[in-house]
Protein backbone atom coordinates (compact mmCIF):
# COMPACT_ATOMS: atom_id res chain seq x y z
CA UNK A 1 0.00 0.00 0.00
CA UNK A 2 1.32 3.42 -0.89
CA UNK A 3 1.79 5.97 1.85
CA UNK A 4 -0.65 8.84 2.04
CA UNK A 5 0.48 12.36 1.24
CA UNK A 6 0.11 13.35 4.87
CA UNK A 7 2.71 10.82 5.92
CA UNK A 8 5.25 11.67 3.26
CA UNK A 9 4.39 15.34 2.77
CA UNK A 10 3.09 16.69 -0.51
CA UNK A 11 6.30 18.47 -1.51
CA UNK A 12 8.23 15.22 -1.73
CA UNK A 13 5.77 13.91 -4.29
CA UNK A 14 5.86 16.93 -6.59
CA UNK A 15 9.25 17.46 -8.08
CA UNK A 16 8.64 17.32 -11.82
CA UNK A 17 10.08 20.12 -13.97
CA UNK A 18 7.79 21.53 -16.62
CA UNK A 19 8.78 20.86 -20.23
CA UNK A 20 8.37 23.22 -23.18
CA UNK A 21 4.88 21.99 -24.02
CA UNK A 22 3.65 22.55 -20.48
CA UNK A 23 5.09 26.07 -20.48
CA UNK A 24 3.55 26.84 -23.89
CA UNK A 25 0.12 25.72 -22.69
CA UNK A 26 0.47 27.99 -19.66
CA UNK A 27 1.45 30.93 -21.88
CA UNK A 28 -1.74 30.34 -23.84
CA UNK A 29 -3.80 30.38 -20.64
CA UNK A 30 -2.17 33.69 -19.67
CA UNK A 31 -3.04 35.08 -23.12
CA UNK A 32 -6.68 34.10 -22.51
CA UNK A 33 -6.56 35.95 -19.19
CA UNK A 34 -5.08 38.92 -21.00
CA UNK A 35 -7.98 38.94 -23.46
CA UNK A 36 -10.71 38.50 -20.84
CA UNK A 37 -9.00 40.10 -17.81
CA UNK A 38 -10.38 37.37 -15.60
CA UNK A 39 -10.26 33.67 -14.79
CA UNK A 40 -9.32 30.84 -12.44
CA UNK A 41 -5.59 30.64 -13.10
CA UNK A 42 -4.54 28.58 -10.06
CA UNK A 43 -6.76 25.63 -10.94
CA UNK A 44 -5.85 25.73 -14.64
CA UNK A 45 -2.12 25.54 -13.90
CA UNK A 46 -2.67 22.86 -11.27
CA UNK A 47 -4.62 20.73 -13.78
CA UNK A 48 -2.56 21.36 -16.86
CA UNK A 49 -0.52 18.17 -17.00
CA UNK A 50 -3.53 16.01 -16.09
CA UNK A 51 -5.55 17.47 -18.96
CA UNK A 52 -2.59 17.49 -21.33
CA UNK A 53 -1.82 13.80 -20.84
CA UNK A 54 -5.51 12.90 -21.18
CA UNK A 55 -5.88 14.76 -24.48
CA UNK A 56 -2.39 14.02 -25.86
CA UNK A 57 -2.02 10.38 -24.92
CA UNK A 58 -5.08 8.72 -23.43
CA UNK A 59 -8.51 9.79 -24.65
CA UNK A 60 -10.00 8.50 -27.87
CA UNK A 61 -11.84 11.30 -29.68
CA UNK A 62 -12.53 12.79 -33.08
CA UNK A 63 -12.58 16.56 -32.85
CA UNK A 64 -14.27 16.76 -36.26
CA UNK A 65 -17.06 14.60 -34.85
CA UNK A 66 -17.25 15.51 -31.15
CA UNK A 67 -20.30 13.27 -30.55
CA UNK A 68 -18.66 10.19 -32.10
CA UNK A 69 -20.25 7.36 -30.06
CA UNK A 70 -16.96 5.49 -29.61
CA UNK A 71 -15.19 8.41 -27.92
CA UNK A 72 -13.99 8.28 -24.35
CA UNK A 73 -16.01 10.62 -22.13
CA UNK A 74 -14.09 13.22 -20.15
CA UNK A 75 -15.99 15.31 -17.59
CA UNK A 76 -14.20 18.21 -15.93
CA UNK A 77 -16.17 18.14 -12.71
CA UNK A 78 -14.13 21.00 -11.21
CA UNK A 79 -15.45 23.28 -13.92
CA UNK A 80 -13.52 26.30 -12.71
CA UNK A 81 -10.37 24.68 -14.09
CA UNK A 82 -11.81 25.14 -17.57
CA UNK A 83 -8.99 27.27 -18.99
CA UNK A 84 -6.75 24.19 -19.08
CA UNK A 85 -9.48 22.31 -20.93
CA UNK A 86 -10.26 25.14 -23.34
CA UNK A 87 -6.70 25.65 -24.58
CA UNK A 88 -6.42 21.91 -25.26
CA UNK A 89 -9.82 21.62 -26.98
CA UNK A 90 -8.89 24.58 -29.21
CA UNK A 91 -5.51 23.10 -30.03
CA UNK A 92 -7.07 19.73 -30.87
CA UNK A 93 -9.51 21.39 -33.26
CA UNK A 94 -12.82 21.10 -31.38
CA UNK A 95 -13.38 24.83 -32.06
CA UNK A 96 -11.35 27.66 -33.61
CA UNK A 97 -8.62 29.20 -31.48
CA UNK A 98 -10.30 32.58 -31.98
CA UNK A 99 -12.91 31.48 -29.42
CA UNK A 100 -10.23 31.55 -26.73
CA UNK A 101 -9.88 35.31 -27.12
CA UNK A 102 -13.63 35.68 -26.47
CA UNK A 103 -13.50 33.89 -23.10
CA UNK A 104 -16.45 35.15 -21.00
CA UNK A 105 -17.43 37.62 -23.72
CA UNK A 106 -21.08 37.97 -24.73
CA UNK A 107 -20.39 36.75 -28.26
CA UNK A 108 -18.24 33.80 -27.20
CA UNK A 109 -19.01 30.15 -26.47
CA UNK A 110 -16.48 29.77 -23.65
CA UNK A 111 -17.79 30.79 -20.26
CA UNK A 112 -16.17 30.79 -16.84
CA UNK A 113 -17.43 27.23 -16.47
CA UNK A 114 -17.83 24.68 -19.27
CA UNK A 115 -21.26 24.26 -20.81
CA UNK A 116 -22.60 21.18 -22.54
CA UNK A 117 -24.22 21.90 -25.89
CA UNK A 118 -22.34 25.18 -26.36
CA UNK A 119 -18.78 23.94 -26.49
CA UNK A 120 -17.86 21.06 -28.80
CA UNK A 121 -16.01 18.43 -26.76
CA UNK A 122 -17.57 19.35 -23.41
CA UNK A 123 -19.51 16.33 -22.11
CA UNK A 124 -21.32 17.98 -19.19
CA UNK A 125 -22.02 21.42 -17.78
CA UNK A 126 -20.09 21.81 -14.57
CA UNK A 127 -19.23 24.63 -12.23
CA UNK A 128 -21.21 23.80 -9.14
CA UNK A 129 -19.02 21.22 -7.46
CA UNK A 130 -19.89 17.61 -6.77
CA UNK A 131 -21.91 16.76 -9.88
CA UNK A 132 -19.45 15.19 -12.33
CA UNK A 133 -18.83 11.80 -10.77
CA UNK A 134 -22.53 10.85 -10.67
CA UNK A 135 -22.95 11.97 -14.28
CA UNK A 136 -19.87 9.92 -15.18
CA UNK A 137 -21.34 6.89 -13.41
CA UNK A 138 -24.45 7.16 -15.59
CA UNK A 139 -22.27 7.30 -18.71
CA UNK A 140 -20.21 4.32 -17.54
CA UNK A 141 -23.33 2.28 -16.73
CA UNK A 142 -24.70 3.07 -20.17
CA UNK A 143 -21.50 1.79 -21.77
CA UNK A 144 -21.73 -1.42 -19.77
CA UNK A 145 -25.39 -1.94 -20.66
CA UNK A 146 -24.79 -1.30 -24.35
CA UNK A 147 -21.52 -3.25 -24.38
CA UNK A 148 -19.59 -0.22 -25.64
CA UNK A 149 -15.91 -0.09 -24.83
CA UNK A 150 -15.57 3.65 -24.24
CA UNK A 151 -14.16 4.74 -20.90
CA UNK A 152 -15.24 7.59 -18.64
CA UNK A 153 -12.78 9.99 -17.02
CA UNK A 154 -13.90 12.49 -14.40
CA UNK A 155 -11.55 15.17 -13.09
CA UNK A 156 -12.45 16.37 -9.61
CA UNK A 157 -10.92 18.82 -7.18
CA UNK A 158 -9.84 18.36 -3.60
CA UNK A 159 -12.13 21.12 -2.31
CA UNK A 160 -14.85 19.50 -4.41
CA UNK A 161 -14.33 16.31 -2.41
CA UNK A 162 -15.89 18.09 0.58
CA UNK A 163 -19.26 17.58 -1.13
CA UNK A 164 -21.38 14.71 0.18
CA UNK A 165 -22.51 13.90 -3.37
CA UNK A 166 -18.92 12.86 -4.21
CA UNK A 167 -19.09 10.17 -1.55
CA UNK A 168 -22.58 9.07 -2.53
CA UNK A 169 -21.16 8.63 -6.02
CA UNK A 170 -18.07 6.85 -4.69
CA UNK A 171 -20.25 4.27 -2.92
CA UNK A 172 -22.29 3.81 -6.09
CA UNK A 173 -19.27 3.38 -8.39
CA UNK A 174 -17.76 0.88 -5.95
CA UNK A 175 -20.99 -1.08 -5.69
CA UNK A 176 -21.28 -1.33 -9.47
CA UNK A 177 -17.57 -2.21 -9.85
CA UNK A 178 -17.28 0.30 -12.68
CA UNK A 179 -14.03 -0.75 -14.24
CA UNK A 180 -14.61 1.68 -17.12
CA UNK A 181 -14.62 4.71 -14.78
CA UNK A 182 -11.50 6.60 -13.77
CA UNK A 183 -11.51 9.59 -11.45
CA UNK A 184 -8.51 11.92 -11.39
CA UNK A 185 -8.25 14.15 -8.34
CA UNK A 186 -6.36 17.40 -8.65
CA UNK A 187 -5.00 17.31 -5.10
CA UNK A 188 -3.24 20.66 -4.78
CA UNK A 189 -4.23 20.96 -1.13
CA UNK A 190 -5.49 24.50 -1.53
CA UNK A 191 -9.11 25.46 -1.61
CA UNK A 192 -10.65 28.90 -1.84
CA UNK A 193 -10.19 30.00 1.78
CA UNK A 194 -7.04 28.15 2.72
CA UNK A 195 -5.37 24.76 2.78
CA UNK A 196 -7.49 21.62 2.65
CA UNK A 197 -5.90 20.62 5.94
CA UNK A 198 -7.38 23.62 7.74
CA UNK A 199 -10.68 24.01 5.85
CA UNK A 200 -11.79 20.36 5.57
CA UNK A 201 -9.08 17.76 5.91
CA UNK A 202 -9.49 14.91 3.41
CA UNK A 203 -6.84 12.61 4.86
CA UNK A 204 -6.41 9.71 4.84
CA UNK A 205 -7.59 10.44 1.31
CA UNK A 206 -6.28 7.40 -0.57
CA UNK A 207 -7.48 5.05 2.14
CA UNK A 208 -10.95 6.59 1.97
CA UNK A 209 -11.19 5.79 -1.75
CA UNK A 210 -9.81 2.28 -1.21
CA UNK A 211 -12.45 1.65 1.42
CA UNK A 212 -15.13 2.72 -1.07
CA UNK A 213 -13.98 -0.01 -3.47
CA UNK A 214 -11.61 1.86 -5.76
CA UNK A 215 -8.25 0.88 -7.18
CA UNK A 216 -6.01 3.77 -6.11
CA UNK A 217 -2.74 5.18 -7.38
CA UNK A 218 -0.98 8.35 -6.29
CA UNK A 219 1.16 10.28 -8.75
CA UNK A 220 3.01 13.54 -9.13
CA UNK A 221 0.33 15.39 -11.06
CA UNK A 222 2.90 17.44 -12.96
CA UNK A 223 5.03 14.46 -13.97
CA UNK A 224 3.88 13.70 -17.50
CA UNK A 225 5.55 10.27 -17.60
CA UNK A 226 4.11 9.25 -14.27
CA UNK A 227 0.60 10.33 -15.31
CA UNK A 228 0.94 8.55 -18.64
CA UNK A 229 2.02 5.30 -17.09
CA UNK A 230 -0.80 5.36 -14.50
CA UNK A 231 -3.40 6.15 -17.15
CA UNK A 232 -2.06 3.45 -19.48
CA UNK A 233 -2.48 0.82 -16.78
CA UNK A 234 -6.24 1.24 -16.27
CA UNK A 235 -8.12 -0.32 -14.63
CA UNK A 236 -5.77 -0.12 -11.69
CA UNK A 237 -7.48 -3.18 -10.22
CA UNK A 238 -9.78 -5.64 -11.93
CA UNK A 239 -13.52 -5.19 -11.28
CA UNK A 240 -13.04 -1.87 -9.52
CA UNK A 241 -13.33 1.77 -10.54
CA UNK A 242 -9.98 3.57 -10.57
CA UNK A 243 -8.87 6.76 -8.95
CA UNK A 244 -5.60 8.51 -9.59
CA UNK A 245 -4.79 10.98 -6.85
CA UNK A 246 -2.65 13.59 -8.56
CA UNK A 247 -0.49 15.54 -6.13
CA UNK A 248 -0.29 18.98 -7.64
CA UNK A 249 0.60 22.57 -6.88
CA UNK A 250 -2.01 25.27 -7.30
CA UNK A 251 -0.71 27.77 -9.84
CA UNK A 252 2.10 25.35 -10.77
CA UNK A 253 4.80 26.84 -12.99
CA UNK A 254 4.32 30.48 -12.15
CA UNK A 255 6.54 31.69 -9.32
CA UNK A 256 4.04 34.42 -8.47
CA UNK A 257 0.90 32.26 -8.63
CA UNK A 258 2.14 29.04 -7.02
CA UNK A 259 0.26 28.31 -3.79
CA UNK A 260 -0.91 31.93 -3.87
CA UNK A 261 -4.60 32.00 -2.95
CA UNK A 262 -4.99 35.42 -4.60
CA UNK A 263 -4.66 33.62 -7.92
CA UNK A 264 -7.53 31.19 -7.22
CA UNK A 265 -9.67 33.60 -9.21
CA UNK A 266 -8.85 37.09 -10.40
CA UNK A 267 -10.83 39.72 -12.27
CA UNK A 268 -9.76 43.12 -13.60
CA UNK A 269 -6.35 41.66 -14.35
CA UNK A 270 -3.90 44.39 -15.38
CA UNK A 271 -1.22 44.43 -18.09
CA UNK A 272 1.36 44.52 -15.31
CA UNK A 273 -0.01 41.31 -13.80
CA UNK A 274 0.05 39.64 -17.21
CA UNK A 275 3.70 40.65 -17.65
CA UNK A 276 4.51 39.35 -14.17
CA UNK A 277 2.83 36.03 -14.94
CA UNK A 278 4.67 35.62 -18.23
CA UNK A 279 8.00 36.47 -16.61
CA UNK A 280 7.32 34.06 -13.76
CA UNK A 281 7.21 30.99 -15.99
CA UNK A 282 10.34 28.83 -16.16
CA UNK A 283 12.65 29.14 -19.13
CA UNK A 284 12.75 25.93 -21.08
CA UNK A 285 14.78 25.13 -24.18
Amino acid sequence: MKTSSLESGPAEKICAELDARSVDLRIKVIRVLQASRRGHLGAAFSLMEIMRVLYDDVLRYDSANPRWPGRDRCVLSKGHGCLALYVLLAEKGFFPESELWKFCASDGILGGHPEYGKIPGVEASTGSLGHGVSIGIGMALSARYQKHDYRVFVVVGDGESNEGSIWEAAMCAGKHKLENLCILVDYNKQQSYGSTFEVQDLEPFADKWRSFGFGVEEVDGHDVEHLRSALKSLPLEMHKPSIIICHTVKGKGSACAEMNLKWHHQSSITDGQIEDLLRSLPEVD
Binding site: S125, I137, G138, L141, S165
Partner: protein, 314 residues
Protein backbone atom coordinates in the same frame (compact mmCIF):
# COMPACT_ATOMS: atom_id res chain seq x y z
CA UNK B 1 -52.24 5.81 -9.23
CA UNK B 2 -48.73 4.79 -8.23
CA UNK B 3 -49.34 1.15 -9.12
CA UNK B 4 -50.73 2.15 -12.52
CA UNK B 5 -47.74 4.41 -13.11
CA UNK B 6 -45.18 1.71 -12.33
CA UNK B 7 -47.12 -1.04 -14.15
CA UNK B 8 -47.31 1.18 -17.24
CA UNK B 9 -43.61 1.89 -16.96
CA UNK B 10 -42.87 -1.83 -16.91
CA UNK B 11 -45.01 -2.37 -19.99
CA UNK B 12 -43.40 0.53 -21.84
CA UNK B 13 -39.92 -0.72 -20.94
CA UNK B 14 -40.70 -4.17 -22.35
CA UNK B 15 -41.20 -2.51 -25.73
CA UNK B 16 -38.45 0.11 -25.56
CA UNK B 17 -34.93 -0.81 -24.51
CA UNK B 18 -33.98 2.84 -24.00
CA UNK B 19 -36.04 2.89 -20.80
CA UNK B 20 -34.12 2.59 -17.53
CA UNK B 21 -35.56 2.53 -14.01
CA UNK B 22 -33.78 3.85 -10.93
CA UNK B 23 -35.28 3.65 -7.46
CA UNK B 24 -33.81 5.15 -4.33
CA UNK B 25 -34.22 2.43 -1.67
CA UNK B 26 -37.90 1.83 -2.41
CA UNK B 27 -40.14 -0.56 -0.49
CA UNK B 28 -39.36 -4.27 -0.64
CA UNK B 29 -40.67 -5.93 -3.78
CA UNK B 30 -41.30 -2.71 -5.74
CA UNK B 31 -40.98 -3.25 -9.50
CA UNK B 32 -40.26 -6.96 -9.11
CA UNK B 33 -41.42 -7.73 -12.63
CA UNK B 34 -39.21 -5.02 -14.13
CA UNK B 35 -36.24 -6.32 -12.17
CA UNK B 36 -36.90 -9.93 -13.17
CA UNK B 37 -37.48 -9.23 -16.86
CA UNK B 38 -34.97 -6.42 -17.44
CA UNK B 39 -32.33 -6.68 -14.73
CA UNK B 40 -29.71 -4.76 -16.69
CA UNK B 41 -32.05 -1.76 -16.88
CA UNK B 42 -33.16 -1.87 -13.26
CA UNK B 43 -31.21 0.00 -10.61
CA UNK B 44 -32.04 0.12 -6.92
CA UNK B 45 -29.61 2.61 -5.46
CA UNK B 46 -29.21 3.75 -1.89
CA UNK B 47 -30.73 6.69 -0.08
CA UNK B 48 -28.70 9.08 -2.19
CA UNK B 49 -30.96 11.29 -4.28
CA UNK B 50 -28.20 13.64 -5.43
CA UNK B 51 -26.21 10.74 -6.86
CA UNK B 52 -29.28 9.06 -8.31
CA UNK B 53 -30.36 12.16 -10.23
CA UNK B 54 -26.81 12.82 -11.49
CA UNK B 55 -26.49 9.21 -12.56
CA UNK B 56 -29.84 9.46 -14.36
CA UNK B 57 -28.54 12.53 -16.20
CA UNK B 58 -25.42 10.63 -17.29
CA UNK B 59 -27.52 7.75 -18.62
CA UNK B 60 -29.84 10.17 -20.40
CA UNK B 61 -26.90 11.98 -22.00
CA UNK B 62 -26.14 8.61 -23.58
CA UNK B 63 -29.62 8.42 -25.11
CA UNK B 64 -31.51 6.55 -22.39
CA UNK B 65 -34.93 7.52 -21.07
CA UNK B 66 -34.59 7.32 -17.33
CA UNK B 67 -37.45 7.05 -14.81
CA UNK B 68 -36.48 7.81 -11.23
CA UNK B 69 -38.86 7.03 -8.39
CA UNK B 70 -38.92 7.90 -4.72
CA UNK B 71 -40.92 9.98 -2.26
CA UNK B 72 -41.84 13.38 -3.72
CA UNK B 73 -40.17 15.47 -1.00
CA UNK B 74 -36.86 13.68 -1.38
CA UNK B 75 -36.85 13.73 -5.17
CA UNK B 76 -37.49 17.48 -5.24
CA UNK B 77 -35.95 19.03 -2.12
CA UNK B 78 -32.88 16.93 -1.43
CA UNK B 79 -31.46 16.98 -4.94
CA UNK B 80 -32.79 20.31 -6.18
CA UNK B 81 -29.45 21.44 -7.59
CA UNK B 82 -29.02 18.17 -9.47
CA UNK B 83 -32.50 18.70 -10.94
CA UNK B 84 -31.66 22.26 -12.00
CA UNK B 85 -28.19 21.61 -13.40
CA UNK B 86 -27.92 17.93 -14.31
CA UNK B 87 -31.45 17.55 -15.68
CA UNK B 88 -32.81 20.91 -16.77
CA UNK B 89 -29.63 22.67 -17.90
CA UNK B 90 -28.72 19.59 -19.95
CA UNK B 91 -32.37 19.18 -21.04
CA UNK B 92 -32.19 15.41 -20.65
CA UNK B 93 -34.95 12.83 -20.82
CA UNK B 94 -35.26 11.98 -17.15
CA UNK B 95 -38.68 11.48 -15.56
CA UNK B 96 -38.94 12.05 -11.82
CA UNK B 97 -41.86 10.15 -10.30
CA UNK B 98 -42.67 11.62 -6.89
CA UNK B 99 -44.73 9.47 -4.53
CA UNK B 100 -47.14 11.28 -2.26
CA UNK B 101 -47.49 14.71 -3.87
CA UNK B 102 -49.34 17.04 -1.49
CA UNK B 103 -50.54 15.85 1.91
CA UNK B 104 -50.60 12.11 1.19
CA UNK B 105 -48.09 11.41 3.96
CA UNK B 106 -50.01 13.50 6.52
CA UNK B 107 -49.42 10.98 9.33
CA UNK B 108 -45.66 11.22 8.77
CA UNK B 109 -45.46 14.98 9.19
CA UNK B 110 -43.76 17.89 7.39
CA UNK B 111 -40.61 15.97 6.39
CA UNK B 112 -42.75 13.86 4.06
CA UNK B 113 -45.39 16.33 2.88
CA UNK B 114 -44.66 17.54 -0.64
CA UNK B 115 -46.49 20.84 -0.49
CA UNK B 116 -44.08 23.08 -2.43
CA UNK B 117 -42.82 20.62 -5.07
CA UNK B 118 -44.72 22.34 -7.88
CA UNK B 119 -43.55 25.81 -6.83
CA UNK B 120 -39.87 24.98 -6.77
CA UNK B 121 -39.90 22.99 -10.00
CA UNK B 122 -42.06 25.52 -11.82
CA UNK B 123 -39.26 28.07 -11.40
CA UNK B 124 -36.76 25.94 -13.32
CA UNK B 125 -36.49 26.40 -17.10
CA UNK B 126 -37.24 23.34 -19.28
CA UNK B 127 -39.05 21.38 -16.56
CA UNK B 128 -42.40 19.84 -17.43
CA UNK B 129 -44.74 19.21 -14.48
CA UNK B 130 -47.57 16.68 -14.67
CA UNK B 131 -50.18 16.04 -11.97
CA UNK B 132 -52.80 13.56 -13.16
CA UNK B 133 -56.13 13.32 -11.37
CA UNK B 134 -56.57 9.55 -11.22
CA UNK B 135 -55.20 6.19 -12.29
CA UNK B 136 -56.94 6.26 -15.68
CA UNK B 137 -55.37 9.57 -16.54
CA UNK B 138 -52.01 8.20 -15.43
CA UNK B 139 -52.49 5.30 -17.85
CA UNK B 140 -53.18 7.72 -20.69
CA UNK B 141 -50.25 10.02 -19.98
CA UNK B 142 -47.44 7.52 -19.34
CA UNK B 143 -46.90 6.53 -23.02
CA UNK B 144 -46.49 10.24 -23.84
CA UNK B 145 -43.62 10.60 -21.39
CA UNK B 146 -41.38 8.26 -23.39
CA UNK B 147 -40.63 10.49 -26.35
CA UNK B 148 -41.22 13.88 -24.72
CA UNK B 149 -38.09 16.04 -25.02
CA UNK B 150 -36.59 17.19 -21.72
CA UNK B 151 -37.12 16.46 -18.02
CA UNK B 152 -40.53 15.71 -16.50
CA UNK B 153 -41.80 15.65 -12.94
CA UNK B 154 -44.78 13.34 -12.42
CA UNK B 155 -46.62 14.10 -9.20
CA UNK B 156 -48.33 11.02 -7.83
CA UNK B 157 -51.47 11.66 -5.81
CA UNK B 158 -52.90 9.20 -3.34
CA UNK B 159 -53.78 5.81 -4.78
CA UNK B 160 -57.30 4.36 -4.84
CA UNK B 161 -58.82 7.70 -5.71
CA UNK B 162 -62.12 7.46 -7.51
CA UNK B 163 -61.90 7.77 -11.28
CA UNK B 164 -63.11 11.19 -12.33
CA UNK B 165 -61.50 11.62 -15.75
CA UNK B 166 -62.96 10.25 -18.94
CA UNK B 167 -61.37 7.90 -21.42
CA UNK B 168 -62.59 9.56 -24.58
CA UNK B 169 -60.59 12.75 -23.94
CA UNK B 170 -57.02 12.09 -25.06
CA UNK B 171 -54.18 13.32 -22.85
CA UNK B 172 -51.86 15.88 -24.39
CA UNK B 173 -48.88 17.23 -22.47
CA UNK B 174 -49.36 20.99 -22.15
CA UNK B 175 -53.14 20.95 -22.68
CA UNK B 176 -55.90 21.66 -20.19
CA UNK B 177 -59.13 19.64 -20.22
CA UNK B 178 -62.52 21.28 -19.80
CA UNK B 179 -64.42 18.83 -17.59
CA UNK B 180 -67.60 20.83 -17.28
CA UNK B 181 -68.89 24.02 -18.89
CA UNK B 182 -70.66 26.82 -17.00
CA UNK B 183 -71.37 30.51 -17.19
CA UNK B 184 -71.08 31.92 -13.65
CA UNK B 185 -67.67 30.82 -12.42
CA UNK B 186 -64.53 28.98 -13.45
CA UNK B 187 -62.80 26.45 -11.20
CA UNK B 188 -59.24 25.57 -12.21
CA UNK B 189 -57.53 22.61 -10.64
CA UNK B 190 -54.82 19.99 -11.05
CA UNK B 191 -54.15 16.49 -9.75
CA UNK B 192 -56.51 14.79 -7.33
CA UNK B 193 -58.31 18.01 -6.36
CA UNK B 194 -60.18 17.70 -9.66
CA UNK B 195 -62.60 15.46 -7.74
CA UNK B 196 -63.22 18.25 -5.21
CA UNK B 197 -63.77 20.84 -7.92
CA UNK B 198 -66.33 18.59 -9.59
CA UNK B 199 -68.05 18.03 -6.22
CA UNK B 200 -68.11 21.79 -5.65
CA UNK B 201 -69.67 22.32 -9.07
CA UNK B 202 -72.45 19.86 -8.13
CA UNK B 203 -73.11 21.70 -4.84
CA UNK B 204 -73.23 25.01 -6.69
CA UNK B 205 -75.74 23.67 -9.18
CA UNK B 206 -78.17 23.40 -6.28
CA UNK B 207 -77.69 27.15 -5.80
CA UNK B 208 -78.35 27.78 -9.52
CA UNK B 209 -74.72 28.63 -10.10
CA UNK B 210 -73.28 27.20 -13.25
CA UNK B 211 -69.56 26.44 -13.04
CA UNK B 212 -66.88 25.53 -15.57
CA UNK B 213 -64.24 23.11 -14.31
CA UNK B 214 -60.91 23.27 -16.09
CA UNK B 215 -58.49 20.48 -15.24
CA UNK B 216 -54.82 21.35 -15.78
CA UNK B 217 -52.87 18.09 -15.45
CA UNK B 218 -49.88 19.86 -17.01
CA UNK B 219 -48.86 22.71 -14.73
CA UNK B 220 -45.84 23.55 -16.80
CA UNK B 221 -46.00 24.43 -19.62
CA UNK B 222 -49.33 25.93 -18.63
CA UNK B 223 -52.14 25.98 -21.18
CA UNK B 224 -52.62 29.75 -21.02
CA UNK B 225 -54.78 29.76 -24.14
CA UNK B 226 -57.50 27.59 -22.64
CA UNK B 227 -57.30 29.46 -19.30
CA UNK B 228 -57.83 32.81 -20.99
CA UNK B 229 -60.58 31.45 -23.19
CA UNK B 230 -62.64 30.28 -20.21
CA UNK B 231 -61.58 32.94 -17.70
CA UNK B 232 -62.72 35.65 -20.12
CA UNK B 233 -66.29 34.35 -20.06
CA UNK B 234 -67.01 34.41 -16.31
CA UNK B 235 -66.87 36.96 -13.47
CA UNK B 236 -65.53 34.52 -10.83
CA UNK B 237 -62.30 32.52 -11.03
CA UNK B 238 -61.14 30.13 -8.29
CA UNK B 239 -58.17 27.78 -8.23
CA UNK B 240 -58.00 24.60 -6.12
CA UNK B 241 -54.84 22.65 -5.38
CA UNK B 242 -53.25 20.36 -2.81
CA UNK B 243 -50.17 22.57 -2.56
CA UNK B 244 -49.00 25.74 -0.88
CA UNK B 245 -50.70 28.81 -2.28
CA UNK B 246 -47.27 30.28 -3.01
CA UNK B 247 -45.98 29.42 -6.44
CA UNK B 248 -48.28 26.59 -7.42
CA UNK B 249 -51.22 26.38 -9.79
CA UNK B 250 -53.04 29.29 -8.14
CA UNK B 251 -50.05 31.56 -8.56
CA UNK B 252 -49.56 30.44 -12.14
CA UNK B 253 -53.20 31.14 -13.02
CA UNK B 254 -53.09 34.47 -11.16
CA UNK B 255 -50.12 35.53 -13.28
CA UNK B 256 -52.00 34.69 -16.47
CA UNK B 257 -55.25 36.34 -15.38
CA UNK B 258 -53.56 39.48 -14.02
CA UNK B 259 -51.65 40.03 -17.24
CA UNK B 260 -54.73 39.45 -19.41
CA UNK B 261 -56.15 42.87 -18.42
CA UNK B 262 -59.73 41.75 -18.97
CA UNK B 263 -62.24 44.51 -19.73
CA UNK B 264 -64.80 43.03 -17.34
CA UNK B 265 -63.95 42.79 -13.62
CA UNK B 266 -63.00 39.41 -12.20
CA UNK B 267 -63.28 38.05 -8.65
CA UNK B 268 -60.33 35.76 -7.99
CA UNK B 269 -59.39 33.42 -5.16
CA UNK B 270 -56.77 30.73 -4.60
CA UNK B 271 -57.63 27.71 -2.48
CA UNK B 272 -54.69 25.69 -1.21
CA UNK B 273 -52.41 25.20 1.77
CA UNK B 274 -51.48 28.46 3.53
CA UNK B 275 -47.85 29.47 4.09
CA UNK B 276 -47.27 27.07 7.00
CA UNK B 277 -45.77 23.70 7.77
CA UNK B 278 -48.82 21.53 8.48
CA UNK B 279 -49.16 21.52 12.26
CA UNK B 280 -51.44 18.47 12.52
CA UNK B 281 -51.17 14.78 11.67
CA UNK B 282 -54.26 12.74 10.86
CA UNK B 283 -55.08 11.79 7.28
CA UNK B 284 -54.64 13.45 3.89
CA UNK B 285 -58.34 14.27 3.74
CA UNK B 286 -58.55 15.55 7.32
CA UNK B 287 -55.63 17.91 6.71
CA UNK B 288 -57.13 19.06 3.42
CA UNK B 289 -60.41 19.81 5.13
CA UNK B 290 -58.51 21.63 7.87
CA UNK B 291 -57.13 23.97 5.19
CA UNK B 292 -60.47 24.39 3.44
CA UNK B 293 -59.62 22.14 0.53
CA UNK B 294 -62.90 20.26 0.20
CA UNK B 295 -65.81 20.26 -2.22
CA UNK B 296 -68.03 22.09 0.24
CA UNK B 297 -65.48 24.72 1.17
CA UNK B 298 -64.69 25.37 -2.50
CA UNK B 299 -68.43 25.72 -3.19
CA UNK B 300 -68.79 28.20 -0.32
CA UNK B 301 -65.93 30.31 -1.66
CA UNK B 302 -67.36 30.36 -5.18
CA UNK B 303 -70.82 31.19 -3.85
CA UNK B 304 -69.48 34.10 -1.83
CA UNK B 305 -67.58 35.52 -4.80
CA UNK B 306 -70.58 35.09 -7.12
CA UNK B 307 -72.79 37.00 -4.70
CA UNK B 308 -70.20 39.74 -4.42
CA UNK B 309 -69.98 39.90 -8.16
CA UNK B 310 -73.78 40.08 -8.59
CA UNK B 311 -74.03 42.73 -5.87
CA UNK B 312 -71.42 44.96 -7.50
CA UNK B 313 -73.15 44.65 -10.88
CA UNK B 314 -76.50 45.91 -9.53
Amino acid sequence: MRKTCLDMLCRLAEKDDRIIFIGSDLGYGTMERFKAEMPDRFFMEGVSEANVVGMAAGLALEGKIVYVNTIATFITRRCFEQIVLDLCLHNVNVRLIGNGGGLVYAPLGPTHEAIEDIAILRAVPRMTILAPADADEMRRLMPLTVDHRGPIYIRLGKGNDPIVTVDHVPFTIGKGILMRAGTDALLLTTGVTLRLALEAAEHLKEHQISVSVLHLPTIKPLDTEVILEHAGRVPVIVTVEEHTMIGGLGSAVAEVVAEANFQSPKRFKRIGIPDVFPEKYGSQSSLMEHYGISGEAVARTVLGLCRLSQYSRR
